[in-house]
């Protein structure tokens, strides 16, 4: 098992290198001069532009620039923005917010998604089941932008105006409370998918022969569902959750913008816009790393759930 983990981690190195090179090249290929973008609609003094281009190695060919970046990376230096702020400083603060947000979303997904799916599966074909299916369909089809602003307006603004201060409208000043609404919005579609996945997976498992055996043995229903059916049905769910963590981390741009959370999604957006290679590559590298780790954890969980799966 230990050797397996180490091997997986070593495999991550070429992936990371490839990802940085690719992202660096993509940002490099974006049109527009990053220094000119700094000044907005104005034109910077040409002299200053030259000095800045020199300072940030922008006159060098692509591979030289990448080499500067890579050697810095090996020294633990992630580089700096064009405003001189170290990328590590930026990432430290922003990742904290996004991890909080994605964490809240993941918990909501797991609890609400699996809970609803379980409920629907056990009432398979009944009215409650159809109702849940319809509700999830709505959740999937309405874009985040709409649910986000709607919930913000209803539960943030209108409630506060009515004197009930339940959810903050924006920002992270209120601790966990700040993340509840954005967390739900971010998790929205995933909750729906997970509900449907849980329902289908469980319904199918409940039809399996070994479940019939368990029921025939006279085991209590709760034990049949919990111990025998759910455990097997969990495998696709864990896969989904693991892959979704990466999506949640990277895809938080809209939610972060609506709820004004200073997270990584926002940062990535502005940095791509400003063509700040070091920031974009730094963030993507960490995201890739999180993705790789999440996948590793998922694979290890398989072995826990299904004893037939063994990693030497």
């Amino acid at each position: 098992m230990g050797r397996y983990i180490i091997r997986r981690l070593i495999q991550a190195i070429p992936v990371l290198l490839g990802a940085t090179l690719l992202i660096y090249a993509i940002v490099f290929a974006l049109p527009g001069d990053p220094i000119a973008a700094l000044a907005g609609d104005k034109r910077l003094d040409p002299n200053i532009v030259k000095v800045l281009r020199e300072q940030y190695h922008l006159n060098d060919p692509f591979l030289v620039q990448y080499w500067h970046y890579l050697t810095g990376l090996f020294r633990g230096d992630f580089g700096a923005t064009f405003a001189g702020v170290p990328v590590t400083d930026i990432m430290a603060g922003k990742f904290q917010v996004t991890i909080n947000l994605a964490g809240t979303a993941l918990v909501m997904e797991a609890v609400i998604g699996v809970g609803l799916g379980l409920y629907a599966a056990l009432r398979h074909g009944k009215a409650q089941d159809s109702l849940i299916l319809a509700a999830t369909l709505v959740l999937i089809s309405v874009p985040t932008l709409v649910t986000g602003f709607m919930l913000q307006l209803l539960l943030g603004v209108k409630l506060k105006q009515a004197g009930i201060d339940l959810f903050p409208v924006a920002g992270v000043a209120e601790g966990l409370r700040s993340y509840l609404l954005p967390g739900f919005v971010l998790a929205g579609a995933s909750i729906a998918y997970l509900t449907r996945l849980t329902r289908t997976s469980l319904v199918e498992t409940l039809r399996a022969d070994y479940i019939r055996t368990a029921v025939a043995k006279g085991l209590p229903r709760r034990r049949v569902v919990g111990r025998h059916a759910l455990r097997n049905a969990l495998i696709p769910l864990i896969t989904f959750l693991g892959a979704d963590l990466g999506t949640l981390m990277g895809g938080a741009v809209i939610t972060e913008a609506i709820f004004n959370l200073p997270g990584i999604g926002q940062q990535l957006f502005t940095s791509v816009y400003l063509r700040e290679q070091p920031v974009v590559v730094g963030i993507v590298t960490v995201l890739v790393l999180i993705y790789i780790l999440a996948n590793l954890v998922v694979d290890l969980l398989y072995a826990v759930l299904d004893p037939r799966i063994r990693y030497e």
């Binding site: 034109r43 002299n47 800045l52 400083d89 964490g103 201060d165 826990v304």
Partner: protein
């Protein structure tokens, strides 16, 4: 109760995630009942950089610095320049300026007096190319600027401009290379703030410590260093030893937002007190919900459509440019496309400033019949191209202009989106884009001159924003006359004559003026926004 293994795993993951979510939450403020110590809170976009006054050329950072620093001059309700930190600013020839400081201004860290040397140091620093400060160009009228800017790869041999001389502790003298009657007006800009000696490190550069917690001589001081990227607020406290007019509240907080819609929602919920960038989508709601507390006033920014005259002969005929201008329905664009957050333009000088003449640009009125006749007579091109940058709110109005041109001139118009503004500028610089393009200009200092020299003078082709590449000797001469005129008022006459040439020649056509749409909560009153688009904090009162 016995948990199944699966449930335990699920619960474990949940707890782990909850733990992650809980950490880093910081101090949670309560429901906001303690209104007495509640700061006045203002909406802000994230400043682009840390606070180096000479390198802060965007509005968000400037808004913060304006609360921390007192400028040499300010602008009163009649748009006139008045002294603020300056006791007097005098000149006899518009070339040599003597600036005397008002006593009583002190640095917020150690309470020591602000000296003339502090100004000279700050200006020399900003003007030195080695420091790559974005406001470097503001000093190019001062004698000796060229020595500090020898060009790329060249070493800067001196650290001082010879045009700056300290006379005594409270007085310094500025010598310009050419007379410039508007120099005094410039001095309200961020780049001209002084710097305390503690701002500079051993290497002579401004330290990062200073840039995180700038020390000024103005109304408010920073409570703690600002960590860019992490902090969502900038907290300030009234500086007790500030000699000027003080407001009736102690705490000022800037709250940073990325979405104007979100900021407006927070304003509606009472979590923000001042919001000066309402989104067009919120205007009708703001009007009805805020009533008296809704502000709609002119903003000094202009939007144009430009012609690449330098290298494309298609638009060489003035009649063609006139016809295009006449064919644009500015009023409908301002009122419908922008929900009234813009106003139709009728002069190259914005109505916010002295020198604006209503209706000066006769061909800026909508006259489709005349447009058609002129265009046909001038034998205008059968196809037109219109470029804009897709990263700003431009698509709708550019499409509207294109429709106007199609309908009124009977030509084919293609609209070309660019990823961002910088890509348009790149192509114009390299002379590869031949179509018309959108352009905008926000002033640096409130003078009519600022709409002319940086955008349309011959020098501005190389160093300014003259992307039309238009050059006119008479226009340049009139600017020089205005610059050396003995009084501001006389200078203005020449600037208006220069403006007349623009109206006749139309290197760009003005389309609309921006407007400031702001609103404030019931917690404050007396919110005023000045010519630099900044809130006048000394006028603001807290009502609870």
């Amino acid at each position: 109760m016995r948990f199944t293994k699966g449930a335990r795993i699920a619960a474990g993951t949940a707890l782990l995630a909850l733990g992650l979510a809980a950490c880093g939450s910081g101090a949670s403020t309560g429901g906001g009942t303690a209104s007495a110590d509640l700061p006045v809170r203002m909406e802000l976009g994230e400043p682009q950089k840390l606070f180096y006054p000479g390198d802060t050329s965007e509005s968000e950072g400037a808004e913060v610095l304006a609360a921390v620093f007192a400028p040499l001059v300010d602008y009163d309700e009649n748009k006139q320049v008045v002294n603020e930190a300056a006791e007097s600013i005098e000149t006899t020839d518009n070339k040599v300026w003597t600036i005397k400081l008002k006593p009583g201004y002190t640095w917020q860290d150690d309470g020591s007096a602000v000296t003339a040397q502090n100004y000279v140091d700050a200006w020399n620093y900003a003007a030195n190319q080695d420091n790559a400060q974005s406001s470097n160009g503001f000093f190019n009228r001062i004698e000796g600027w060229a020595d500090l800017n020898p060009g790329e790869g060249q070493t800067v041999s001196t650290k001082e401009m010879k045009g700056l001389k300290v006379v005594d502790d409270n007085t310094f003298q500025v010598t310009l290379t050419q007379p410039f009657s508007q120099f005094k007006t410039m001095l309200g800009y961020t780049a001209f703030y002084p710097l305390p000696s503690s701002a500079f490190g051993d290497d002579g550069k401004i330290t990062e410590t200073y840039a995180k917690q700038p020390i000024g001589q103005g109304l408010f001081k920073f409570d703690k260093p600002y960590n860019k990227g992490t902090d969502q607020t900038i907290d300030l406290t009234l500086y007790g030893k500030f000699p000027g007019k003080k407001p009736n509240f102690d705490k000022l907080q800037f709250k940073m937002y990325t979405s104007p819609e979100t900021a407006f929602n927070d304003l509606a919920a009472g979590n923000v007190d001042v919001d000066d960038s309402l989104p067009p989508s919120a205007i009708s709601r703001a009007k009805s919900e805020f009533g008296e507390r809704y502000i709609d006033q002119a903003d000094a920014t202009i939007a144009y459509i430009g012609f690449p005259l330098q290298y494309n002969k298609t638009y060489a005929n003035i009649k063609v440019r006139e016809a295009i201008s006449l064919a644009i329905d500015r009023k409908t664009i301002a009122e419908t496309v922008f929900s009234g957050t813009r106003a139709p333009a009728d002069d190259f000088i914005n109505p916010l400033l002295d020198g604006y003449r209503q209706g000066a640009c006769a061909v800026c009125t909508y006259d489709p019949a005349r447009a058609k006749t002129e265009y046909t007579e001038a034998n205008g091109p059968k196809t037109l191209e219109l470029g804009y940058n897709a990263d700003g709110p431009h698509k709708e109005w550019i499409e509207a202009v294109a429709n106007n041109l199609r309908a009124n001139l009977g030509v084919q118009v293609s609209v070309k989106p660019f990823e961002k503004f910088a890509s348009i500028l790149d192509e114009l610089d390299q002379k590869t884009y031949g179509g018309m393009f959108r352009m905008g200009w926000a002033i640096d200092y409130p003078s009519a001159e600022n709409y002319l020299t940086p955008v349309f003078s011959t020098v501005a082709i190389k160093t300014g924003s003259n992307y039309a590449g238009w050059s006119n000797k008479e226009f340049d001469d009139l600017l020089a006359k205005g610059d050396s005129a003995p009084t501001q008022a006389e200078g203005l006459k020449f600037y208006q004559q220069a403006d007349d040439i623009l109206i006749k020649e139309l290197p760009y056509i003005p389309v609309y003026y921006y407007r400031i749409n702001a609103a404030f909560s019931q917690n404050v009153k007396g919110v005023k926004i000045n010519l630099l688009n900044q809130v006048e904090w000394s006028e603001v009162e807290k009502t609870v």
